[in-house]
């Protein structure tokens, strides 16, 4: 990978990041949105680790006869971010499970339609802002 010139890694990172971003904003399924968030997150990890890499450097564990190491700082940041990431994903999943139980679906459109119906039965006519949001 070190032989690859220049900023090729970064370009791929941007592509992966945008793939995750697209899933989050364009797809209606909440579980899939979480996966999209995961894709996005992993691409940020790759970005950081790529920046920390040093040509000819070794892994940052002190060894005799080695003087050049990759930067340990991005490693520390990403290491903790990965574990925090899985914990927050679990919170998202738990929310999705509760939404499934309350609405019977994790599809954004179904949830939204159900909310609109509730509003109508409560207030008679949907509020103007809701009508716009629903279209």
């Amino acid at each position: 990978m070190n032989a690859l010139p220049g900023i090729f890694n970064y370009l791929v990172v941007v592509f992966l990041m945008m793939a995750g971003f697209y899933v989050v904003i364009a797809q209606g399924n909440l579980i899939k949105k979480l996966v999209g968030l995961g894709l996005f997150q992993a691409s940020v990890f790759i970005l950081y680790i790529t920046m920390g890499n040093l040509a000819g450097g070794a892994a940052p564990i002190v060894t005799e006869g080695v003087t050049v190491y990759s930067s340990p700082l991005p490693h520390v940041l990403i290491l903790t971010a990965i574990v925090v990431g899985v914990a927050t994903t679990a919170v998202g999943l738990a929310l999705a499970v509760r939404i499934q139980e309350a609405y019977g679906s994790v599809e954004e459109e179904v949830i939204h339609a159900s909310d609109l119906r509730d509003d109508e039965s409560l207030f008679g006519e949907p509020a103007a802002c809701d009508r716009e949001g629903g279209q």
Binding site: M1, N2, I7, F8, N9, Y10, V12, V14, F15, M17, M18, A19, G20, Y22, Q27, G28, N29, I31, K32, L34, G38, L39, A42, F45, I46, I49, M51, G52, N53, L54, A55, G57, A59, P60, I61, V62, Y69, S70, P72, L73, P74, H75, V76, I78, L79, T80, I82, V83, V84, V86, A87, A90, V91, L93, A94, L95, V97, Q100, E109, V110
Partner: protein, 316 residues
């Protein structure tokens, strides 16, 4: 090559509507990312990504999927707006990336400032070979304390959302994947090495790749495996959820306790030189204690999140 695979998986994840396949692909994506990290000299990160991303995260996603729905509904319309937003953001990011220092450039900003300090001073000030562990637990100990609390809070949030589990919702001996004759002996032989390896990673983290975060996840995955193969009633008999909740708090308490002890000894919060007359020995003890705290919290949070998901029955 690896990056090419990652791109393929990302595209497949967008197109597939079978969420089971999407989640499994995401696991593969994580494993490939781990291989990439290995290639970029980030051994600790690769380790964590392999254990968390490909292991625990996939299991959690699947147990979440079990409680919702496997198939995604066909999208009614594909608005061009998101695609446009994505294209514009992507173009802006690529424009910014053109100025980024090339891969492995020694003059890049990341290799200036504090990085040389950490690399030069770690053997003298902290005395542990793994610089990542030294930065994690000592130089940036405040941040790591924060991360540990975040993990604890996330575990708390999941328990609040899904209930503390146990009692009414599970039947002892009931098995999510059925009675597997082949799987049981295999799992039985795998679990002791997994737990032993978890301990090794925990206590060898100062010297090689590893540490509390990875060890906690590996240790928890041993119990998750037991739970999957032998039924949740049995796993809960070994480690009851009520213990886990106390353990999660205990881990944070150990970490914070080390900090407060340093305060009482007249040093700054989390200044490990308070632990011993010899500063380097103090650093050793401090890192060991703090990593144990992290390991306990991560282990118990991951396992209790898993219990919370697996103990819940599908309602609708």
């Amino acid at each position: 090559m690896l990056l090419g695979f990652l791109v393929l998986i990302a595209i497949a994840a967008i197109r597939l509507r079978d969420l089971f396949a999407v989640v499994m692909l995401f696991g593969v994506y994580s494993l490939l990312t781990a291989a990439l990290f290995m290639d970029l000299d980030a051994v600790d990160v690769a380790f964590t990504e392999a254990a968390v991303g490909a292991g625990v995260s996939t299991v959690l996603m699947l147990s979440g999927l079990r409680l919702t729905r496997r198939w995604e509904e066909a999208p009614g319309h594909r608005p061009p707006l998101p695609l446009m937003v994505v294209a514009v953001t992507g173009a802006a990011l690529i424009y910014a990336m053109l100025d980024a220092p090339p891969l492995g450039d020694p003059t890049a900003p990341v290799h200036q400032h504090v990085t040389p300090y950490y690399i030069e001073q770690t053997p003298l000030e902290v005395g542990v070979p793994n610089i990542v562990t030294a930065v994690l637990a000592s130089y940036r100990g405040y941040d790591t304390f924060g991360e540990t609390v975040v993990i604890f809070t996330a575990g708390l949030a999941v328990l609040l959302l899904l209930g503390v589990g146990g009692g009414h919702s599970f039947r002892p001996g009931e098995n999510a994947i059925g009675d597997q004759t082949v799987l049981k002996p295999v799992v039985k032989t795998l679990i002791p090495p997994i737990l032993l390896y978890g301990l090794y990673v925990q206590f060898h983290g100062d010297f090689g790749a590893g540490g509390g975060f990875q060890a906690g996840v590996i240790f928890a995955s041993g119990f998750v495996l037991y739970d999957l193969a032998f039924g949740e009633g049995n796993a809960r008999a070994v480690v009851p959820p009520a213990w886990l909740h106390r353990l999660a708090a205990l881990g944070v308490l150990i970490y914070g306790g080390v900090g407060v002890y340093a305060l009482f000894a007249g040093k700054a919060f989390l200044d490990y030189s308070a632990l011993s007359a010899n500063p380097v020995a103090g650093q050793h003890a401090g890192i060991l204690l703090v990593e144990i705290g992290v390991g306990i919290t991560v282990f118990s949070v991951v396992l209790s999140i898993f219990y919370a998901f697996s103990g819940r029955r599908r309602k609708s």
